[in-house]
Amino acid sequence: MVFITLIVVFEMIAYVATTPRPSEQFFQLYVLGSNGRAAGYYPNNDTYISPNETVSWYLGTTNFMGNVQLVDVRVKLGNQTINPPNDTQGLPSPAPLITEFQRFTQDNETWEFPFVWRVTNAGLVNNTMHILTVEINGETFQVVDCSARSGYNFRLIFELWTWDTNTDAFQFGWETSGEHPVAWLQIWFNMTTSTPFQYA
C-alpha cells in the first residue's frame, strides 16, 4: 500500500517535470526615445520637426511565441486621414510602406535596433506639406503620396509581421490558439518648412 502510494506520487512528479507546460504566445513591440527610455521622442521635446532634422529612436520586439520566428517590422508613413491598422479585423494600414526590418528571433529573445530618421525632401504647396523622401538608418527611401494639411499630424506607423509557414508568406500579426492578434505602434509628428515644393 505504501509502495503504491509512493509510486503514484513520484510518477506524477516525473510526468509534471517532463511535460512542457503550455504558455501564452505573444509578441512585444516597442519604440523608445533617443535615450533608450519611453521619453524624449522628439528633438528638444518639440513635435514640430524640420526637414533634415535627425530623430533617434529605438525599435524593439520580443518573441514570446515559444519557438523561432521570422519577424518583419514594417515602417509606414501616414497622415491624419489614412486608416491605421485594424485590430479587430487584423488588417494592416493602407499607408505607404517606407521600409522594413527582418530578423529571425528565438523564444524569449529581444531584438532592439536603432531607428534614426529624417525627412530629406519635403515641400509646401497650396498649404499642404508633401514628404517626398525619408532617410532611415542612412538609407534614403522614396515616399509615395504622403501629404498633410499645413504639415500637421503625420505619423510613422510600425507594424509587426511574422512569417506564416502554412501560407509561405508574411502575415500581419501572428496566429495563436485560433486567434490572430496584431501589434502595431504609431508616433505622430508635425512637419514644418518654409521651403517651396521641390521634386527630388
Binding site: I7, F10, L70, L97, Q102, Q106
Partner: protein, 161 residues
C-alpha cells in the same frame, strides 16, 4: 485608320500601372525569392525545437539563418545588370547556408528527440526507484519504531497505588 477600342487601351494602361507598381515595390518582395528554402529551414528548426533542442543549440541555427537573411537582403539590392554575377554568388551562398541549417536542424531533431525520450524514461524509472527506496525506508523506520515501542513497553514499571 480606326483607333483601338477603349477597352484595349484601358487594359494596357492598367497592365502598365501594375508593372510600374510592382517594379516600385519589388524591394519589399524579398520573401518571394527566399520563400521555399527559408520556409523549409524555419519548419525544420521548429521541429528540432519541439523535439527538445536547447536554446544554445538553436542559437547556432538562428545565427546562420540571420546571416543568410542578411546576404539575401544584399542580393536583392543588386539590381544592375552588371551585378548579376555578384547577386548569383550571394544567392548561392544563401542557398548553401539554408541547406546547412536544414541538415543541422534535422540531425539536431534526431539527437534532441532521443535525448528527450531518454530523459523521460529515466524520469519515470527514477520515480519507481524513489518509490522503492521510500518504501524500504518506511519499512526500516517502521520496524525500528515497533522495536522501540516494544522495548519501551517491557521497560515499563508497574506500581500499585
Amino acid at each position: 485608320m480606326r483607333s483601338p477600342p477603349r477597352i484595349l487601351v484601358f487594359t494596357i494602361a492598367v497592365m502598365l500601372i501594375l508593372v510600374a507598381v510592382h517594379s516600385n515595390t519589388s524591394t519589399y518582395l524579398r520573401a518571394d525569392e527566399i520563400q521555399p528554402q527559408f520556409n523549409q529551414a524555419i519548419t525544420q528548426v521548429r521541429l528540432a525545437e519541439s523535439a527538445g533542442a536547447t536554446q544554445s543549440e538553436i542559437t547556432e541555427l538562428v545565427t546562420t539563418l540571420n546571416k543568410a537573411l542578411e546576404l539575401d537582403g544584399q542580393a536583392v539590392k543588386l539590381r544592375s545588370p552588371n551585378d548579376t554575377q555578384q547577386r548569383a554568388d550571394l544567392l548561392a551562398r544563401v542557398n548553401v547556408m539554408l541547406n546547412e541549417v536544414q541538415t543541422n536542424a534535422s540531425v539536431l531533431e534526431t539527437v534532441a528527440s532521443q535525448r528527450t525520450r531518454t530523459n523521460t524514461v529515466l524520469a519515470y524509472v527514477y520515480g519507481g526507484v524513489a518509490a522503492a527506496v521510500g518504501t524500504f525506508a518506511y519499512a526500516v523506520l517502521f520496524a525500528f519504531y515497533r522495536r522501540y515501542r516494544i522495548k519501551r513497553t517491557f521497560q515499563m514499571k508497574v506500581t500499585v497505588k
